[in-house]
Amino acid sequence: MGSTIVTFELGGREVEVLVKPMTTLQSVLRDQLGFTATKEGCRQGGCGSCTVLVDGEPMPSCLLPVEDVAGRRVTTLESITPVDGLHPIQRAFLEGNAFQCGYCTPGMVMVSKALLDRDPAPSDDDIAQALAGNVCRCTGYRPIIRAVRAAAEAIAGSPEGKAR
């Protein structure tokens, strides 16, 4: 089978890629487009380090053929990082030391983003549930859960959060 052109939205911009069948979104992001915030911990859908949002839903990009995101909206960690400063979730992870080696962090932040977009005030159990597909070998998870809670509080206290 020959290659096809796939068009999707990435961080607010339309991108067009030429891919062989079954090329994963992960490979397109990292190898073709140079968006390396999306990590590759297992390439079998088991670790969550490659999580991106597709139309706002968290998905493991290592299992996602890029054809499946044609015409859809893909959000990576690069997309949510402001030009200046940090997204509230990023700031909460930084201030709460919710990482050590940092390799799981992009996936953790993206899952947290999807959760807080859906539920601005999740319980710790809700947070743990949302992060259940993301493995961290360093922190023991508690600082991550605390950071997501802190991020929720920060967003709720911000003008944007109050407007919701």
């Binding site: 915030a37 960690l77 990082t81 940092g102 070998r137």
Partner: protein, 450 residues
């Protein structure tokens, strides 16, 4: 504390923190280079075998195949990581020669234009193997007639001419005769895979000036550089290693496995070469923590004092020793625990088996000693009829006590730490334990006890 301290006593943000939360931290695998090749390994499908043939003809016909590397291509194929600190003998092969000693052992490196092509070529390499009996248990490996893993006729690493690391203090046999109780225990631990989120890997890049830049996630940058220079028989000045960003290590990335082969491939092809473990390679091929079997025999007096401890430990090193002899030495130095025991005998064996090689992992031989010792302390407490706190205070070492490996205890804080721990968990210690300190037992007299 001096007023001009800038950092002590303050919380300082991590220098890599913003990179981690924005995804801008560059792990080795986030780099790419024009013309970069991919290296994948042909591995032994069995635990122990003689290699009688390697047929590359089909693999060479895979589109995208660039070249294969075998043992004959490696300038100094026999090595041991710890040779840099004087440990002998060299016993591990960069690429297997006539024998494979564990399932997953590297035999042929395939370099190809893409990862997919490399994997396809790997699948087309035909190995002729004559399978040999294998051994997977430390005690089985030491029995007469056991399959021999090493090239020197038995399955033990030799420590200065001895089959084990030995520590001796006093006379344990005589002390056992004087003891009121003998408490014995056997403690087994499992091999544990570090399972870092980022798998082991590197990219070796030929530079215009004849040097090679190696981007790697090793935890031991200069160890890797020096070993690579020895294996490739090039001056260290031709190698420039770039590291420091490790996506999880825990001791699992100190083994110098990927850099020498990737650099060799870059030398042979003149192109950048990436060699990354897949998740299954990380789990099944990379070193694990050793499985240990620890036998403890303690002589205890009616009042709870331990007067003799005999330790016989076996670490399953797997097919090669890597950092395990070092772990054994640390283990032997710590196998009496933080306790003052006047008669100690420790024999710690580094045993070869046909399992995946083992190496460093958090605690390096000490963790397993602590597990065995602390369970044993609870058993002793039960036998003597005192509570587990008391037995530890009775036996805790003090400044000035002699450790079995002939180091005087300095800056002891075990008693104070236990007192603080008791307070934290709300355990009310008896007054005599609360009053204890780690100060020397008797001013002017070091070591020993009444």
């Amino acid at each position: 504390m001096s007023a001009d301290l800038n950092v002590v006593g303050q919380s300082v943000g991590r220098s890599d923190g913003i990179g981690h939360v924005t995804g801008r931290t560059r792990y080795y695998g986030d780099r790419t280079f024009p013309g970069m090749l991919h290296l994948k390994m042909v591995r032994s499908p069995v635990h122990h075998a003689r290699i009688t043939g390697i047929d590359l003809s089909e693999a060479e016909r895979v589109p995208g195949f660039v070249r294969a590397l075998t043992a004959a291509d490696v300038p100094h194929n026999l090595y041991t990581i710890l040779s840099l600190i004087g440990v002998e003998p060299e016993e591990e092969f960069v690429l297997a020669e006539d024998r494979v000693r564990f399932k997953g052992e590297a035999i042929v490196a395939i370099v190809a234009e893409s990862e997919a092509a490399a994997l396809e070529a790997v699948s087309k390499v035909r190995l002729e193997l004559e399978e040999l009996p294998a051994v997977f248990d430390v005690e089985e490996a030491l029995k007469p007639g056991a399959p021999i893993v090493t090239s020197w006729g038995n399955n033990t690493f030799m420590f200065e001419g001895h089959p084990c690391r030995r520590v001796r203090l006093g006379d344990v046999e005589r002390a056992f005769e004087q003891a009121d109780y003998i408490v014995e225990g056997v403690y087994n631990t499992s091999p544990i895979e570090h399972a870092p989120l980022e798998t082991t890997g590197c990219i070796a890049v030929p530079e215009a000036n004849g040097r090679f830049t190696v981007y790697t996630n090793t935890q031991a940058l200069y160890f890797s550089l020096d070993n690579t220079a020895i294996i490739l028989q090039v001056p260290g000045s031709r190698l420039h290693f770039v590291g420091g960003t490790v996506g999880g290590g825990f001791g699992g990335k100190v083994d110098v496995i990927v850099e020498p082969v990737a650099t060799l491939a870059a030398m042979k092809t003149g192109r950048p070469v990436r060699y990354s473990y897949s998740r299954s390679e990380e789990m099944q091929v990379s070193s694990t923590r050793s499985a240990w079997r620890i036998f403890l025999r303690d002589g205890v007096l009616r009042d709870g004092r331990i007067i003799a401890r005999k330790v016989t430990s076996y670490a399953d090193s797997g097919a090669y020793s890597r950092q395990t002899p070092y772990a054994l030495t640390k283990h032997a130095a710590n196998a009496a625990g933080p306790y003052a025991i006047p008669n100690v005998s420790i024999d710690a064996y580094c045993v070869y088996t046909n399992r995946q090689p083992t190496s460093a992992m958090r605690g390096f031989g000490v963790t397993m000693a602590s597990f065995a010792i602390e369970v044993q302390m609870d058993k002793i407490a039960e036998r003597v009829g005192v509570d587990p706190w008391t037995i530890r205070f009775i036996n805790a070492y003090h400044d000035g006590d002699m450790k079995p490996h002939r180091k005087l205890v300095e800056d002891a804080t075990l008693i104070e730490t236990m007192q603080a721990a008791a307070a934290l968990v709300g355990h009310d210690l008896p007054d005599d334990l609360k009053a204890m300190t780690s100060a020397p037992r008797d001013a002017g007299r070091a070591g020993g006890r009444d």
